[in-house]
């Protein structure tokens, strides 16, 4: 256990914990767009920047991204100083110039009083803010189908060589985690298309309801030891099957009583 001061309040934290986790646990609201509990911290957006200092630093202080900064004994953290807020405003101003159409960024910037970017908007802008949540969650799940490619202005999220990714199974985790809903996919019922690759959907044998892609089910059977039969039915058909089999047991009990 280490003890540190956050906004004048003494708090305790486990060793190795990141500052952002402790700040959130204390109920202090600071913005962060690239943080998610399912993946390792990354420090892409820099919005969770806070000011830190120590007694022995004699007035010196520095700004760090709290998602990547492990807690230390005797640290003095301020989350809402004038400078920190100014920093966040600049970052949001820049993000708004990059993705002026993203509602998520518009809302976040509006909280800081920025309705319009003061920079020149990026020509042919898109809603991707390069938080890399999609690529990190894909890596975390063990697929490694997409990654960030290029540098500087040309940096983007894409499958290898901009071709249909061979390792993608169509789980949609990247599209679900994307804060700006930039990653698009189409579900027709029989097929699902994402990243230029089309997958066959499994349909429930009884109701015909599509569940997950066949490729994903095969991956789960092979690597996670889930019997393939489990994927034949949708969740509602599974519940009806469960009710029928438990009902049979209940009927034996009834007959015994008669």
């Amino acid at each position: 256990m280490v003890s540190l001061t956050i906004n004048g309040k003494l708090v305790r934290a486990d060793e190795g914990e990141m500052l952002l986790a402790v700040i959130e646990r204390e109920g202090i609201d600071i913005p962060s767009t690239c943080n998610h509990k399912a993946v390792e911290p990354y420090g892409a957006c820099r919005l969770c920047t806070v000011e830190i200092t120590r007694k022995e630093w004699e007035g010196w202080k520095k700004h760090v991204t709290s998602c990547l900064y492990p807690v230390e004994e005797g640290l003095i953290v301020s989350t809402h100083t004038e400078q920190v807020i100014e920093l966040r405003k600049t970052i949001l101003d820049l993000l708004l110039a990059r993705s002026p159409g993203a509602k998520y960024i518009q809302d976040l910037a509006a909280q800081f009083g920025i309705m319009q970017t003061s920079f020149e908007e990026v020509p042919d802008s898109d809603d991707c803010i390069l938080c890399a949540l999609c690529t990190r969650v894909c890596d975390q799940m063990g697929f490694h189908a997409i990654s960030t490619v290029g540098r500087g202005h040309g940096k983007e999220v894409a499958p290898p060589l901009h071709e249909a990714p061979p390792d993608c199974v169509g789980c949609l985790a990247c599209a679900q985690i994307c804060p700006t809903n930039f990653i698009k996919y189409t579900d027709t019922g029989d097929t699902r298309t994402i990243w230029g690759k089309t997958f066959e959907m499994i349909r429930c044998e009884e109701t015909g309801q599509p569940t997950i892609t066949r490729a994903f089910a095969e991956y789960l059977s092979k690597h996670r030891d889930i019997p393939e039969d489990y994927f034949k039915l949708s969740d509602s058909s599974h519940r009806h099957e469960t009710a029928l089999s438990m009902g049979r047991v209940a009927q034996w009990e009834r007959q015994e009583k008669v």
Partner: protein
């Protein structure tokens, strides 16, 4: 305290009070959530089976979760789903052989029974005691 969740289909009348109780107990911001319990027909007249998560020992939902969002809660014994970790890939919804991992489309969340954190609301509301949540009295405690 160790407790056990009892489901007795022969006492169930299919009134679906448990479903209502569950839905309201899991509302977010005043909006009711999807019920985690479903009284369904057991294949005979007047036979209803309340189907809910059985908190399996070797749970398919936890095995299928690629980000380890579903873990056993040591206090309640339930398999808890961490909403902040879940990436909504639907692996657990497809993998559960009892169909008790559900997708709540109104809140856009994957949900499952968490035994209400150790005090299931459905058991409180069941008028016929088809659902019961009772502490297990071990033999050495009663002696």
């Amino acid at each position: 305290m160790k407790a056990r969740f009892y489901i007795n289909p022969n006492l169930c009348t299919g009134c679906r009070t448990c479903e209502l109780a569950c839905s309201f107990a899991h509302s977010i911001g005043g909006k009711p959530g999807r019920s985690r319990i479903y009284p369904l027909s057991g294949g005979a007249p007047d036979l209803w089976v309340p189907v809910t998560c059985l908190q399996c020992d070797d749970a398919a939902c936890a095995k299928s979760c690629l980000v380890d969002a579903i873990t056993r809660n040591p206090e309640t014994g339930a398999m808890d789903l961490d909403q902040e970790k879940c990436v909504r890939c639907m692996a657990c919804v497809a993998a559960c052989p009892f169909g008790c991992s559900l997708f709540d489309s109104s809140h856009h969340l994957v949900v499952k029974c968490d035994l209400c954190g150790g005090d299931p609301v459905c058991a409180h509301f069941c008028p016929t005691k088809a659902l019961r949540f009772e502490p297990i009295r071990l033999a050495r405690e009663t002696a």
